[in-house]
Symmetry: C2
Subunit: 765 residues, 2 copies
């Protein structure tokens, strides 16, 4: 074998191939997982952390909803719902798993026969350019998507590089073919989202332009450069706008072969003659900077027009990333869950810069990322919990670059704040807390800080002292957010207190004692919303009293956000032992957790919150949304850690299935998936910013983490089976581990963690 | 005297001052000329060819007109009408003399007392932020504007650098002061013009942002950076938009002290404490590139905050340009006319790039002007006639840069055409012809072509062969534009023919014989719309027949644009002798001209055309609009050149007066003024692209043109008086000139042209 390899090494290309990880692993990636119901994932083509997410749209927000917020927009956060039977087209940008919507830029659709420039309806797809399709004719893989469009028997194939979406349309029937470029289509408020769009036909194969939107991102512009594999015959467009100035029309027939289109609502088409079986390919590069930037991206990433080659490169990039963990599971289905979870956790944050490092910042100026990759799509209220800790462990370089991106965000921010929920250099201020802080603290505390840590601390402190932001002034003055002054006050108080603890840890490490003192004091503020008389965290008013009206089961209007007091009261990840003491001690607390997992929560208590559905609930425990993601591991701080073990395995089974409806809630930019990965490996970071991972019950048979520092960390679960969910004994590097956590250092130093599994709990551990 | 000068020269600053032209000339500049009725000039502050035109707005298009075209918009092309009694505020960009409107970016208004964020109405100014004012308290000079705002006795003063508007507000009463920044205000369709606006409060003195509009320019963005001379106390804004996403409001009180404002319709305010007599100053830089670019411009051009110094620099820049011609006139009023005409002709085209040469091109990408100043605001249907020839003579470097700007436009144009009517890198396709061609040809033919002339010719040819543009295809195939296929067909045919002659001249000079042959043939096309049976140019149909319905007096719908057959039939500037022969010979033609100047044109014949009003008409001769600007000089080609002389002087008197209503029509970016300057000097370029200037009757007593090549050309009119309008004899450099024209070479070689004036015509010349 050695000899053969040696002879192969003579050829450098083959050598690279020989060293490239096997693509076998890709068969365990099913991007369709989470595309039904509330997972909000998309089935299309992307590469790891790629700028382009080229994916089918099965519906758009009804045209008629113009001007009014449409509840259905939530359903279509990722543009695709598995239950739908028509495809409207393929657009280039999509969120993965979010609970709010945007993007859906530059929808492309191939049609034949009569040109129709409206999308038609799901009920009557023949009235527009959309087409029926069937899942039987659909292939969704890492980096590749394929579907047959029934209407004209057109085979659509999609793949991508980081910044270029690549389409291949095979026209099985000869005849007039149209490629529609719909700039009106988009995700969010359909008709009024565009502030402006602009298209230039540069020559008979190259189109450039941009789309500027006011959606979730308030001021967002995406530029493009689009190249056809063969020249179009003719082209044209329709505009739904009132025409302000008529000069253009007087001079030209603007509807046909007029190379400059601009307006709010434009649908363009490009006509071709198609032979039977002919493939028309499109390369579609995007840029946050300019059409010039898009051209640079196109030339750098996709110089040729070999669809299969680009597809194989996309697949290779996935194989490389997924092989950071080699895993064996009890079943193929679980292996599918595992690698699809890795796939989903390696989608976000997304690259946000051109190949030359340029990107548009929050100030709308062009900045250059020097010596780092600039990322965007920071769903931090979700992802600080497990997604960033996971990246901090297996993608430390990228995670440090994400921190650098957050610090660049801070520098550009008019409010001088770190990102809260940011995409495309827009802060949308979604959800609560300042959870860039735990991501930064986690990086610094775990020794992954190739950036100016003091400056990072300063950014954290400045953010945390922003008195006019979301009740922080009250919080600073009173030690809690008063509910009568600022809603969701308990959630805010609890999360601020945790974030403050993170700041204190960094301050201590950097020897900033005054900051440490200030923030370690603030980290105690969770106590200020604890109502011992009822045993729950509870909203307090500015006069110091607890609010009378209160229902600890109800999700809406009780001082919490997307969670009820039962779940949210357990949110003191930085002081679990103290919290448990406060809540009556270990025994009582374990019983409290038991109740949480076993009681029945009637629908009426969460029906008003779209992020929480029956799919994601076990008892009153809400796994489908993030605030409880650490909860099950709190058993470790009681006398009953075996309950963490069994319940973790139960959650893994119930909340993750290898089917389109397999996710119990929004994947939330990888957080739900990262929970799966950590918990399957047998450990979970309940408190990012600390060194500790709580041990649970691994679902893997074995797993090898191949770390960037060259070390390997192996997890083995002896006697693993679906029944053997309890841990009898844990050994780290051959020595029995007499604690319920491992440290980050222990992992990154490499070694082996062995769990001895059994069907019965070991109550002495 | 010599000694004193020598001692002063020790100090370089004083030396520069010693050499600087006297500012005495500035007293002859009255920017208010043309601000009443249809002149469409503005009274505010600008520097020669400056990017910023900081000027008061006396009204805006009524708010209620939302969505509908408002006729009044024409009246307010420059934002100011002399008859108005209130000032709404001071905005930073204005057209000078145009017949279509746009701009009016970034309106600023100082107020005191109760904060009112709406402009109020002219009838009830107290209901909004506008103020009454009086012309008695108004000073309008080159580079400086001052007015007292009656409502709170605030003295507003304005000056400018090329890219920075500078405001100085003196609050005569102590108390709360507000500076309002209205991003909704604008010229054109008031409410729907903004596609997006964006404001960032960077710190307590610096604001940045941009305004993006869809007005006459379809896709235009202007960025700004605004600095206060003292920190504001607080600030806020109101937004008239529907709020799409509420996240912002939940987290912050966005209305007050929230540093990021974005939307379609925003009015911001900044509050100060003002002591009695306190001056609050503002520097407001603009950029076509970015707020970063605006900051660069601000720092480079206005580093300090000394209003008076900046004002003196603005005045010095005007003095320098105006001293390119030293002139003596019969009266002070005429000298005012002359220098105000020079002032108006040195406003456009305007600089369109940042101090570092960057600008946003037609493709919306950022380009850099290498080794030239990039200009915009090309009202070419107007300005190719005399404005560009005037610049080609007295500002040859700038004029060549303007040609380079047009060639850059061509390179960026999606249609591959030279500019028609272009501003801010937007082609608005206003009016007819491809009159960048005569500007380029005039530069090349007169030896002012420091650019690639072959490439320029190619751009001209490509433009002239653009078959889908405005009837050119028909014109190329049939030799005329058929009226049934494309309106204003006679005007187009005639103007294309002239432009084609220009191309032929350049082709000949560059030895491109095939191009010469093609276009010299096309230059004869004027004959194809000549109806000998009625003695007028007349619209022809695609079947070759002349259209039956025809009225040679009527302006509207007769195959012409902004002119009737009486005026437009004389438009063959490249072949005047041939045209006169065609029209019956010299004698008959002179009588025809007599009729034109003396007949009565009833209002009904032009009332539908807003560019032609009674103010601009003499008989049936329309001086207030451009098509006839060469007409009076056609007498030179008859046996009665003395009629040109007397009528030129009559036009100078009637159409130009040193009063706000002193212009007989839109100044049209300097064209009307350039006519005045040339005609006052005694010669006029009826056919740009040729070397010849037709001699008329000078109105100057003497004039010295100080040319860029260091040569001086002196015009002297002996026995000059209002009565002595006839030229008895002309001497060039002491020798009698026995022809009715002088050549460009004769002027630029320097020398002296002496007219001997008399009250009686010399019919033997």
């Amino acid at each position: 074998m050695k000899k053969i390899l040696f002879s192969v090494l003579c050829c450098s290309t083959l050598s690279a191939m020989a060293q490239a990880p096997s693509k076998e692993v890709l068969k365990y990636v099913k991007p369709l997982i989470g595309t039904a119901r509330m997972g909000h994932t998309y089935p299309g083509a992307t590469v790891p952390f790629g700028s382009v997410q080229l994916s089918p749209e099965t519906d758009t927000i009804p045209y008629e909803m113009n001007g009014r917020y449409n509840g259905d927009v939530y359903k279509y956060c990722a543009g695709y719902q598995y239950e739908d039977q028509t495809i409207v087209g393929f657009s280039h940008t999509h969120f993965s798993g979010t609970g709010h919507s945007d993007l859906g830029d530059f929808l492309i659709m191939p049609t034949q026969g009569k040109l129709q420039l409206n999308p038609g309806t799901a009920a009557n797809p023949e009235t527009g350019y959309r087409s029926k399709f069937s899942h039987a004719n659909e292939v969704s893989e890492a980096g590749y998507y394929k579907v047959k469009l029934d209407e004209n028997d057109i085979i659509a194939e999609l793949t991508a590089t980081n910044r270029v979406g690549v389409h291949q349309y095979t026209f099985n029937n000869a005849g007039d073919a149209h490629i529609i470029l719909d700039l009106m289509s988009g995700i969010y408020n359909y008709k009024e989202k565009n502030t402006w769009t602009f298209v230039r036909v540069e020559n008979d194969t190259l189109i450039t332009g941009f789309r500027q939107t006011n959606g979730w991102a308030r001021t967002r512009t995406v530029y493009f450069a689009m190249v056809f594999s063969k020249p179009f015959k003719q082209y044209g467009h329709e505009k739904q706008d009132r025409q302000v100035y008529q000069g253009f029309w007087r001079k030209f027939d603007q509807s046909k072969n007029f190379p400059e289109m601009a307006g709010h609502n434009i649908r363009a088409y490009f006509d071709f003659d198609a032979k039977a079986g002919e493939k028309i390919k499109i390369k579609f590069a995007i840029s946050p900077v300019s059409t010039e930037g898009a051209m640079k991206n196109l030339v750098a990433e996709a110089p040729g027009f070999d669809f299969d080659q680009i597809k194989e490169e996309a697949r290779a990039s996935w194989a490389k990333e997924l092989h950071k963990i080699d895993v064996n599971m009890v079943s193929e289905d679980e292996k599918t869950n595992f690698y699809t979870a890795m796939y989903h956790s390696f989608i976000n944050p997304t690259t946000y810069m051109d190949v030359d490092g340029q990107y548009r910042g929050l100030d709308m100026n062009i900045h250059t990322a020097k010596d780092f990759t600039n990322y965007t799509t920071f769903s931090l209220w979700d992802t600080y919990r497990a997604q960033h800790p996971f990246l901090n462990l297996v993608q430390p370089t990228r995670n440090a670059d994400m921190v650098k991106s957050m610090l660049a965000h801070f520098d550009q921010s008019a409010q001088k704040m770190l990102p809260v929920w940011s995409h495309y250099a827009n802060e949308n201020w979604c959800m609560i807390g300042y959870h860039a802080v735990p991501v930064i603290a986690d990086a610094i505390m775990k020794g992954n800080a190739p950036f100016n840590a003091e400056k990072a601390l300063e950014a954290c402190v400045t953010t945390a002292r922003h008195r006019t932001y979301d009740g922080i002034g009250y919080y600073m003055d009173m030690g809690y957010v008063p509910e009568d002054k600022n809603g969701s006050s308990v959630s805010k108080t609890l999360e601020y207190a945790y974030d403050d603890w993170c700041i204190a840890q960094v301050a201590k490490k950097l020897g900033k004692n005054d900051i440490y003192e200030e923030f370690i004091k603030r980290s105690q503020n969770y106590k200020n919303v604890w109502d011992a008389s009822i045993g729950f965290m509870r909203p307090r008013l500015s006069d110091g009293t607890f609010r009378q009206k209160f229902d600890p089961l109800k999700t809406d209007g009780q001082g919490f956000i997307e969670g009820n007091a039962w779940n949210y009261s357990l949110y003191v990840p930085h002081y679990p032992a103290e919290m448990i003491e406060m809540m009556g001690g270990k025994k009582q607390f374990a019983q409290h957790l038991d109740s949480l997992f076993t009681m029945h929560l009637p629908d009426e208590f969460f029906a008003e919150t779209e992020d929480i559905t029956r799919d994601g609930i076990i008892g009153n425990y809400v796994h489908g949304n993030e605030p409880s993601h650490h909860t099950v591991y709190l058993y470790n701080f009681t006398t009953e850690p075996w309950q963490a073990q069994s319940r973790v395995r139960m959650i893994l089974k119930k909340m993750y299935r290898p089917t389109p409806d397999g996710l119990g809630g929004n994947d939330d930019c990888g957080q739900m998936s990262a929970w799966y990965i950590f918990s399957s490996l047998g450990f979970y970071p309940i408190c990012p910013g600390s060194q500790e991972y709580q041990l649970g019950s691994p679902a893997v048979k074995d797993a090898k983490l191949k770390l960037e520092n060259g070390k390997e960390f192996v997890v083995e679960a002896k006697n693993q089976s679906d029944a053997n969910v309890y841990v009898q004994k844990v050994e780290l590097n051959g020595k029995v581990l007499n604690r319920r956590y491992i440290t980050h250092e222990e992992i990154v130093n490499g070694g082996k963690l062995v769990f001895y599994m059994s069907a019965k709990p070991n109550k002495r551990v």
